[in-house]
């Protein structure tokens, strides 16, 4: 074990823990543009042959969106990071079993969802609860908040956190990740109709948090 690397990690974790550092990065700017399928398939084929750099490109392409989804599921930055890492490690371990040309995103998110479900089961056993950073952190002024009314954003964020986890996972895959219902059903291991129903119910609940008096400027 490299002693200084270990200490380095401690500092890295420590310097990024403070709530002041949360919620300060515009999401859209961080997200890499979707990778063309052909290019992604090349990376995956190379990764199956043991090319670490190719797999690193896959990680680069999916890390931010995967982390974002998991953060909204766990409300805990560290758990979301752990789960994201775990997902990619499992994907790397099983990459040879993936059929190149099929739906990698759904395959990867399925792994992530299984990890999340396992985490929840562990929490239930320990009777622990996930801290809710998204609710307690101060949004503060910034590009994201300026773009949309911060009160609405806070209300909707809080309402999403209140949604049952099954509904939240489906809604965010649809709204944030832009997945179609078929892929959502693959990721969550449910039928397409159930996926559609969950997204509908979640949106039905959330739309109530958009108040009438904020609509004047909308078209």
């Amino acid at each position: 074990m490299n002693l200084w690397t270990s200490a380095h990690d401690l500092v890295t974790v420590a310097t990024t823990n403070s709530p002041e550092r949360l919620l300060n990065v515009p999401r859209a700017e961080e997200t890499p543009a979707p990778t063309p399928a052909s290019e992604e398939n090349e990376w995956l084929a190379a990764a199956q042959l043991g090319d670490r750099a190719a797999f690193a490109r896959v990680v680069q392409a999916y890390w931010d969106r995967m982390f974002r989804w998991l953060f909204h599921l766990t409300h805990d930055r560290h758990r979301a990071e752990d789960l994201t890492q775990e997902t990619f490690l499992k994907a790397l371990a099983a990459i040879k079993s993936f059929r190149v040309g099929s739906n990698f995103r759904a395959w990867l998110y399925r792994i992530a969802h299984n990890n999340f479900v396992n985490l929840k089961r562990g929490d239930k056993r320990r009777a622990g609860s996930l801290p809710d950073e998204s609710l307690t952190a101060d949004l503060g002024p910034g590009p994201v908040v300026e773009a949309e009314d911060s009160e609405t954003l806070k209300r909707v964020t809080a309402a999403i956190a209140e949604l049952p986890s099954d509904f939240r996972t489906a809604l965010l895959l649809r709204a944030d990740e832009g997945m179609n219902f078929k892929d959502i059903s693959v990721v969550l291991g449910i039928t397409e109709e159930t996926a559609r129903w969950r997204v509908f119910k979640a949106r039905q609940k959330l739309v109530k948090y958009i108040s009438d008096d904020e609509l004047e400027e909308d078209d």
């Binding site: 490299n2 990690d9 401690l10 500092v11 002041e20 979301a80 775990e86 909308d218």
Partner: protein, 275 residues
């Protein structure tokens, strides 16, 4: 179609702008459904703007692991965390290969084997296998863990500033202790550690000191104490850079630069806020 059906359709579409012709036709003449459509559009926008913290550092660290030689999970130590969940999950957890029960069984097996081996060989002069020998506890790592735990329990910027200050002192002490024997990579790692402790620790926390957390004189005191520490570290690092082996010179220069930069930033904070 009645309004309820139309509004359900509006809600069902993730992209509210892609409404069918019959919905558009109804909405054009119905105020209630127009409001619902506007709300749905707004919800779509909000859902794409949900706040998320940055995971850039974790990503970069992970990418380095992926690109490093050898098995990914063995290149990274497990950082203890008081938050109950560290940046790096346990080896077993990461691979999902070993269940806790199996791990416990394995540990028991190892203990029985080791105990049996000890029993069989006890008349002989004691020979300790290298792997089983107790490794010396490393003070620096122990102190780093202690600081880390203290940080996770800290609640205010002044507390964190104090912890990072002590931590940076520990790092400089470690650099002084090992620079003659350390390889270029090792001393460079220490320098990087110092840079991070100072720039992302001391300076960041100094920025958080405000009138809500302490009075101006107190704040000035804290900032001046931190500046004194940085001054001393910069001077010492510069001095060591002059006499250190070539492998360590660059590292000490980096540390001196980091200390000077941080001192300048603290000075700016004092001038701006009139602390």
């Amino acid at each position: 179609m009645n309004c309820e059906t139309i509004q359900n359709r509006i809600i069902a579409l993730a992209v509210a702008t892609e409404q069918t012709a019959d919905v558009r036709e109804h909405v054009a003449d119905c105020t209630a459904c127009q409001i619902m459509l506007t709300k749905a559009k707004r919800l779509d926008r909000v859902l794409t703007q949900l706040p998320v913290p940055s995971s850039q550092l974790a990503k970069e660290t992970f990418m380095e692991q992926i690109l490093a030689e050898g098995p990914v999970i063995r290149t990274k130590p497990i950082a203890p965390s008081a938050m109950g969940s560290g940046t790096f999950p346990s080896v077993a957890k990461m691979l999902g290969l070993v269940s806790p029960k199996l791990l416990a069984g394995l540990a028991a097996g190892v203990m029985v084997t080791v105990g049996g081996a000890w029993f069989m060989t006890r008349p002989k002069p004691p020979v300790v296998e290298p792997e089983l020998a107790e490794k010396p506890k490393h003070e620096f790592l122990a102190r780093s863990v202690k600081h880390h735990v203290a940080l996770s329990q800290s609640r205010t910027a002044p507390e964190r500033l104090s912890i990072f200050s002590k931590w940076s002192t520990d790092v400089t002490t470690e650099a002084k202790d090992v620079y003659k024997a350390a390889s270029r990579d090792e001393i460079s790692n220490i320098a990087a550690l110092y840079e991070k402790t100072v720039a992302q620790g001391i300076v960041e926390q100094a920025k958080q000191l405000d009138d809500h957390t302490m009075t101006r004189p107190e704040r000035l005191n804290r900032l001046q104490a931190a500046m004194t520490l940085l001054n001393s570290a910069a001077a010492e690092s510069t001095s060591l850079a002059a006499e250190a082996p070539p492998a360590a010179q660059a590292a000490f220069n980096r540390m001196a630069t980091a200390a000077n930069n941080a001192r300048t930033e603290l000075l700016t904070i004092i001038e701006k806020r009139g602390a």
